[in-house]
Symmetry: C2
């Protein structure tokens, strides 16, 4: 295969009670990536669309992820990776993960799938670490594997694909604000109250049980965050107002996507998600900050070839 | 109904990654309780078997739980509760919970089941608080509801009955040691490292996903405790040796039951549990402390009438 064109979905991680361990892949929001073989032995990064990204392959998450994979496989061929960057960097819906995961998934396809998607994870994480300065999988894993995933463990890495009701959909508001992930993480400190930790794992257990059994009421009751949201929500203007609007309009839950600034509402059905999205947007508008609204189902596959 | 005779199962709580939120009901280990109507308006406690328990209804967990229920229902009839106490108090397998839950469940049956088992929970918890000085549900809930339960939340109380593979069984060793629950809890402190909390909720998520999908490998990998076991295991002689023996003999996981001193091995099948129990016992014997060994399936029903 000399060329591949793929869709690399945006992802929502953390999801209230799932800090650092949960993520899901969106269906209708994502980057496009085209990878071509070249005659030399170089990796090159091109950009066809979107906010400017580094084109030096050693500074670009897709380049670093691709290099990690190619070195692992002992492949010295040249490839050009062209990115249509539609997920804004810094939005909190997995922009760098889409590039890192897309590069390794696309190359793996072109090379005859020598590795499984699970095996691609560490290479994608190596790429993403360039952007986030952290070793985390809660965006690259759902991007690569699709659906709703749990990072059970980082050492060893153990990523579980969860069962979930197929009618779930999300409304996402991305306020055009900059939140530095490192600062957002520093807010949390190194320790948490045991009672908050217990409340969090009770909810995480409830969420996973509810997802498995298709119990929307249990999913809804479980979407509480006792750890990050209380400390981080102040970085997002009108957070409480948006949350109230979402819940009143019928959302199952509402919280911060990743470390923000995007916020998500989990909903039962795509049409309700669109309606709930309008209510959240209406509640955010008086703030006067530009924003994007995305509504999407969860995609069971993650990255996929564009026919 | 003027008389009822019931089996009140022992319960295993915490279960490694499920500190304060998980519990399960055993099939073959438990107390017997006989409740009879009496002519007066008094509650009385009788004991037919086992280590001495308080017979003053205001000091006895069954008495306090029964009084809470009867007051709630406005019932002033007299009842005599006779307990064959086969679960040793202080064993860490829900001795007080069996008495508290048994009293309210049995009375509720005699009164024509005015309350659901979920509604009985707070009355049983009121009784158990007499013994443990704490408001917790991780023994009374599985005792009342049966099976494997998750306490998603205490405020409001929300107890979830989990799906689990029917072949699970446990081997339990109860070393005849006294561990004071309050001291055991004090060891934990009020705060934990965020990274340990994340590891714990990753494992709890994995366990609940594995229980729901019948993935024994995932159940096994998830039975890790980053919170209580590292601090509490030193209270139990030969803990590490017993754990190694259990895992080498094929246990899915091994940890402290409740706050100890009992330890449990979760196993795939009752015969393997018996074999694994022998290995754990063999590993504990050199310590020279008397102990009991119990092997049991998980019972889906919890408290039940003895025909």
């Amino acid at each position: 295969m000399d060329m591949i064109r793929i869709f690399c979905p945006a992802t929502v991680s953390n999801l209230s009670c799932g800090f650092d361990v949960l993520g899901l892949a969106l269906e209708e929001v994502g980057d496009e990536m085209t990878i071509r073989r070249t005659s030399g032995s170089e990796l090159s990064i091109l950009q066809s669309e979107g906010p400017e990204i580094p084109l030096d392959p050693d500074q670009n998450v897709a380049g670093v992820a691709a290099r990690s994979l190619l070195d692992h496989l002992g492949i010295q061929d040249g490839f050009a990776i062209e990115i249509a960057k539609r997920i804004k960097p810094g939005s909190g819906i997995g922009s760098s993960a889409a590039s890192a995961a897309g590069a390794v998934w696309g190359l793996n396809q072109m090379l005859g799938t020598p590795l499984s998607n699970q095996e691609l994870l560490t290479h994608a994480m190596t790429g993403e670490a360039v952007a986030s300065n952290a070793w985390h999988a809660d965006n690259v894993a759902p991007c690569l594997l699709g659906g709703f995933v749990l990072i059970r463990s980082y050492d060893p890495l153990d990523v579980i694909q969860l069962s979930f009701p197929k009618d779930l959909a999300l409304a996402i508001i991305h306020p055009h604000l900059e939140i530095k992930t490192a600062e957002s993480r520093a807010r949390l400190g190194d320790k948490i109250l045991l009672k908050n930790a217990v409340a969090q794992w009770g909810n995480l257990g409830g969420l996973i049980s509810g997802l498995a059994s298709g119990d929307h009421g249990l999913i809804s009751r479980s979407l509480e965050d006792h750890v990050a949201e209380p400390l981080r929500k102040h970085q997002i203007p009108r957070f409480d107002a948006m949350k109230s609007a979402a819940i009143e309009a019928g959302a199952l839950g509402f919280g911060i996507s990743g470390s923000g600034p995007s916020v998500y509402a989990l909903c039962k059905g795509l049409d309700p998600a669109k309606e709930i999205g309008r209510h959240i947007a209406h509640s955010f508008e008086p703030q006067g900050i530009p924003f994007d609204l995305y509504c999407s189902r969860i995609h069971p596959e993650g990255i996929r070839i564009i026919p």
